[in-house]
Amino acid sequence: MSRRRALVVAALTLATLVLHVILVRAMAHGHVAHVLLGSGNAVPPIGAALLAVLLVLVRFAAIVIAPGALLAAAASLLAHAVMGPPGSYAERSRATESTKTSP
């Protein structure tokens, strides 16, 4: 993962976390679960249904995916700091050295 991509992943993950907080608040304040329960077998209000589906997806992403994504982005940024950008002169030099010294 390039440094730019790592930063994009980190930014998207943080945005997901913020969106998650907003959605949980909206769902709790709107008593959306109660509204959905109240609609029973009839078609639920579209707003409440969309909010519930969105919350489930975003919550899954925020809690299950986000920690790994943030760690992966951090790992990529660390690799960038230690090894330089992929295909950089320093990396090519090290690669050449390793090629030369390899049997």
């Binding site: 679960a33 919350l55 920690p67 992966a72 951090a74 690799a79 690669a95 050449t96 090629t99």
Partner: protein, 426 residues
Amino acid sequence: MEAHLAGFGRRMVMSDVVTKTPRPRRSTRSLFALLAFVLGLATVPHRVCERDAGAYFDGDAKSVDALAASVAGWTGKELEPDSFATGSRRFDGEWLFGTYMMAAMGFGQVALASDDPVRRAENVARMERCLDAMLAPAARAFDGDAWTFDALASTRAPAGSAQDRGHAAYLGYAGLALGLHRVVAPVSRFDAAHDAIAAALGRRFAASPTGFVETYPGEVYPVDNAAGLGALALHAKAVHGAASPGLTRGLEAMRTRAVQPASGLLAQAVSAVDASPRDPGRGSGTALGAYFLAFADPALSASLYHAVHRELFRTILGFGAVLEHPTSCVECMGRVDIDSGPVFLGFGVSATGFAIGASRANDDRDAFSALYATAHLFGAPFDEGGTRTFATGGPLGDAILFAMLTAPRLSVLAGSLRSMAVARAS
């Protein structure tokens, strides 16, 4: 020529350096990132979600009180059967009744575990609001419609008459909540109703040819009978009386007919005629039965809980969940009903939620934490103003989780009941 070839060879080496060597470097970076992702996936999410589990397991007052305040918010305003539109009038009524009953259990359990008289009195008052609503005609209607006779009226029917039968769900669940209330508040306006319900249940278990009491005409559900048996046991403890013969008979029927010999799970339904099981046992009924029976027969509760843990409990990335049906029952897979709630990949929402209470009652901290992590993930708790509500729960979900998260631990329950008795005597 040789020099030319040597130059070519050098170019080949250079070419290798430029086009091939960076690839392993990129692969190393990608592998590094992938490993970091997997590490994050496997170690962080369930730990984030179960971070409050220890506080609930240990009965931390601040955490529990936030849940109690939220449920008190729901039950403090009037809920109607219309609030639960499942498409079935009976199930709407069951859910209304279930919300007040589970909330009452939660408040009663908090009061039972509390040493602080102010906190106990506050929760007893909240519990009494739920008991009033639970005994009101609107909450009794689902049962009365099925029997064409009111459950409370049936407790006054002459012993052995045609009307002195059934109503296991309403009387069992109501009796359990009233029994817990009487343990924490020995004298109250509910005593007469409690005595009448316990007497009716005792008679009906003792007189039943199968040892079970029908929930609806011709329908017998062992989990409802488990609530009735818990009610009989709590009544005996609350009034310091001898256990009803019906309790002994009902427990025997439960052990010999409802518990499946191979799996140890509780059949969800048995025949009203000969008590033969209608299914090989299910997660929701067994877990809820283990919770109810903790009040009546700790050994049977432990046996049911261990069966759930052995046969149905699984963890995925540290998140605990309970299968609704045993894997040995191929034809059961995918079956969903009002008891199971939604089922995903075989895991039941009800089974997982009820197992939280069964695991706490049976002192299994690890399973409790793993199951709570799942409830936290899908329940989406929201904290505000000293309350905690589960955003996807609604009144029934909040009430059930409240009751399950505060289920009395068997190691503590006996002591709590003893200290209540001592306090009352002094």
